[in-house]
């Protein structure tokens, strides 16, 4: 019971991941975000989506990921951008967050970028509050500003549950 090697290893990786490198660049509409590689379990194309009536509007529905039911969330809707079609074949990133399995619908998954503490910059002050909460930090990569996706905020629906 007390002996759980996997847990220890997992934690080590996570800390390491946060400290430096390993970010997927993901794209929705015109925006690009960095997403820690360690948070990503899988990248897949979704099958049919079962809508969840009454649920938060950013939740597209439930999809079957190899026998496991995952909650599909539209990053576009989450950011207040024009929603995608979200039908079968949409690209999704499998992320587990607080023991719940999610599929984050995105337009594109790009290269893995390596970031170091030197890249970090202060948040630009004029970003709208609705958008700003979804970024956990900002980095300058190759002359461009890359916001890092705040996974906690993306999958926190406590405000939407009224």
């Amino acid at each position: 019971m007390s002996y759980e090697p996997s847990k220890v290893i997992r934690e080590t990786i996570q800390t390491a991941g946060n400290a430096l490198d390993g970010y997927f660049s993901i794209k929705v509409a015109g925006d690009t975000f960095g997403l820690p590689v360690t948070q990503v379990q899988t990248i897949f194309r979704i099958g049919s989506v079962t809508p969840a009536p009454g649920g938060p509007s950013d939740i597209v529905g439930l999809v079957n990921l190899r026998g496991k039911i995952v909650t599909a969330v539209s990053l576009r809707r989450r950011l207040g951008l024009e929603p995608e079609a979200g039908g079968p074949g949409s690209l999704a990133i499998g992320i587990e967050h607080h023991k719940e399995a999610f599929a984050l619908l995105v337009d594109e998954v790009g290269d893995v970028l390596t970031l170091t503490a030197d890249n970090a910059i202060a948040p630009p002050p004029h970003i709208g509050r609705r958008r700003a909460k979804f970024a956990s930090g900002y980095n300058r990569v190759g002359g461009q500003i890359l916001p890092l996706l705040n996974v906690d905020a993306v999958f926190d629906f406590s405000e939407e549950k009224s």
């Binding site: 079962t50 969840a52 009454g54 939740i59 529905g61 026998g67 039911i69 909650t71 999610f102």
Partner: protein, 931 residues
Amino acid sequence: MDEMLMEFLAESAEQIEAASAQIVEFERNPEDAALISSIFRLVHTIKGTCGFLGLERLQRLTHHAESLIGCLREGATATPDVVSAILTAVDQVKVLLGDLEEAGHEPEGDDIELIALLERQVAVCQGAESAPAEAAVESAPEVVAAAEEPAVEAHEPEPVVAEAADEPAASAETTLEEKLSNPQTQESLDALVASLRAAKLDVRREAAKSTQGKPSEPAASAAPAAAKPAAPADAHPPAHKAESGEGRAKGADTIRINLNTLERIMNLVSELVLTRNQLIELTRHKEDETLKSPLQRLSTMTTDLQDAVMRARMQPVERVFSNLPRMIRDLAHDLGKKINLVTEGADTELDRQLIDLIRDPLTHLVRNCADHGIEMPEDRVRVGKPAAGTVRVSAAHEAGQITIEIADDGRGLDITKIKGKAIQSGLATPQQLERMNDEEIYRFIFAAGFSTAEKVTNVSGRGVGMDVVRENIQTIGGSVALSSTPGKGAKFSLKIPLTLAIAPALIVEASGQRFALPQHSVVEAVGLNGGEHKIELVQGSKILQLREAVLPIGSLAELLHLAPPANRVEEAEQLAVIMRVGAHAFGITVDAVVDVQEIVVKPMGGSLSHLSSFSGHTILGDGSVVLILDPNGVCQSLGLEQSREGAASNVEGGALRGGDRTRLVYFRAGSGVDKVLPLSNIARIETVHSDKIEMSNGMMLMQHQGRLMPIVAAAPEVMVKEGDNTVFVISPDGESFGLLIDAIVDIIEEKLDVEIAGDQPGIVGAAEINGKVVELLDIGHFVDIVRPQEERPKDRKSRLLLVDDAAFFRDMLAATLQAHGFEVVKCGSGGQALSTIAQGGAFDAALIDVELPDLVGFELAEKLREGGAQFPMIAIAPYATREILRGATAAGMAGAVGKFQRTQMLDLIRACVEQPGDGNQDDAFFAGAAA
């Protein structure tokens, strides 16, 4: 946390649970020396381990508790004070263990007050003992001897242990007391226990290490260490050895599994089941034999595996029952009542998840019985009851469900008070109450905030409770029923599914989306397009008139705000699914019922768990995800939570009133009107291909379960059709025959009144159901065809008197009885029966319906006996409940049996007939008591 500590915690939790139950038991049976020895052992073991693990606070506490228990073991009287002190100590140990588990170390503080209390009690015990010291010495050997017996018995296969245990027992008798009270001996005992434990644990650890190629030296050295202190074991309580032996025996065939591991296995198996279903779906249309047979094997194995894992999750309800004795004891103490607790069926197994979920409701109901049901001893004696009341908790496995009954022999529910309270709280008007029957009124106690307790005790009656009980039970797909007899007591029956993980469900479709609807709350599905049932708008709300009931109804698509599918051409055929949630009956309209499937229920993820309309989700055989509707939530979204309780009675009343309504199979056979048969008369419904039906000697035959089964046509015109045929398998007494019909129309639950007696053979008579005339088939007639008179046993041509006002039962039972060689005289009323006897009718036995319109069956039995009837009488009822059994015994009847329990009925009659003239025998036959 330390592995050893974990193990200790798990073990101790069980031991402490067992100990507190046993202490209560001991208070009741102070003579039971084996019991106190066992309690002593339990506490002693915990103490020993605490010492070894360096848990000083626990060790001190258990040491003092042990001393007190030791006094009891030596013959001190178990006064309530002593028992309370021990129980308090046990509670404290429990608290400490809990803290230990959470924090990983012992909580700060000491238990000075408690220890002082324990010491005082020890002093009292010893003081009381010193006077009759000689008596104590005399009784001591007895105690030891008694304690010894079970130990020896339990260890027959291990004579060495038994002998070793025996020997010290002989020499210990005289010295045991003083040695135990001698602190030095005490310490050496502790050391012994500790070292024994150490040895055991070391060996275990070494065994683990040795797989890595290390020599197990320490293990070898640990063994003599253990043996050394064992040598002067003459002072050692022999029982202790027995305990370690026991531990070994048990260890051989059980292991402890971490719950998470089990959960994970369960989940994996669920996934496997889903994958299997998907594979089957995929290959359904492919004629690939190479794939089919391994898939078949995979399928069976998956089912078996699923079954095995489900079994592993099962635990006896004893886990819930075990804390009841303690609770009842404390309650009785607090309330100044005398209460006996009887538990039955503690070994009935239930999914562990459910065990935890029923704990609170069950505890609440038991508490309620003790608090409200059982009267004060004086009051009980005044009304001629024994001073001690009885609360009976029984569990039984019945048809894929667990039934738990909580009954008391107290005053029963006070209907006047309930009525008053119902009016007061605005739940019903006096006029409405007028029209309600007792059961409907009793059901008010399940309304929120309903308590009739005059004074609010700290036990129950805080106004929260029964509604929560019902809600909790319903959440897990169960139901609560309630019956009460004024002055005799009340009974709650909980029906609980065996497991939550897998449930049968209807897959319904609304606005192009599919949903799963758990079957346990579905009453029926009704087509709305036939014109017979229509949805009407009353003051802006939709209602459905279904037979006499007026049900609220809503469209599932509207309730869930589903957008209509884009390609909707016209109004699709609508179905109303009628559901029942507690007292509420309601309907929802859907576009179609697509399928009925066993679904693996998975809880919703956190981001959607707030949706009250859904209880979870699942993956269907085709791989698609569907949401599982929560009947409670749907009921609420219809705005029903505050509506009147009575609404449901029209739908479910039949089942509660028992016998009024019958489940009928409605079918076509031949040219005449449609026919009906009670579903209970039909063992199975089979679809048989015409090839499988053969003619032999003018009789149709088919293979059924490896035997040839005769088939008769339900009507002369019914012929075997080319292709599939529908056959009802009827087994009046285990010997089956088939009844060939044309087609099943429906299965309905209806009140059946045969109005016009039939003149045709094979027809009991005609009845009206939903405005249509149907004919009730006479099973007896077909039994006659299949089994001609000569084949029947002739040795017992006994004459039976059958009294039942329902023509249906009269004819059905008469046919069965005649088929078994009895001669039956039927009477439709008590009066008729009395006049039959008065005219000198001689019978070997009588079957009497307990509910006759002119006379209660029990009274009839007494009247018949006054009229000179000497033969044994048997009470019959739709279900032979315990009340009926009691009534029957009270009336001097030979027994009671359910009308549908043919085998038991025949056994009972034969037993009665074979012992003629012995109607008042003491050991009445009670068949079907469990019904």
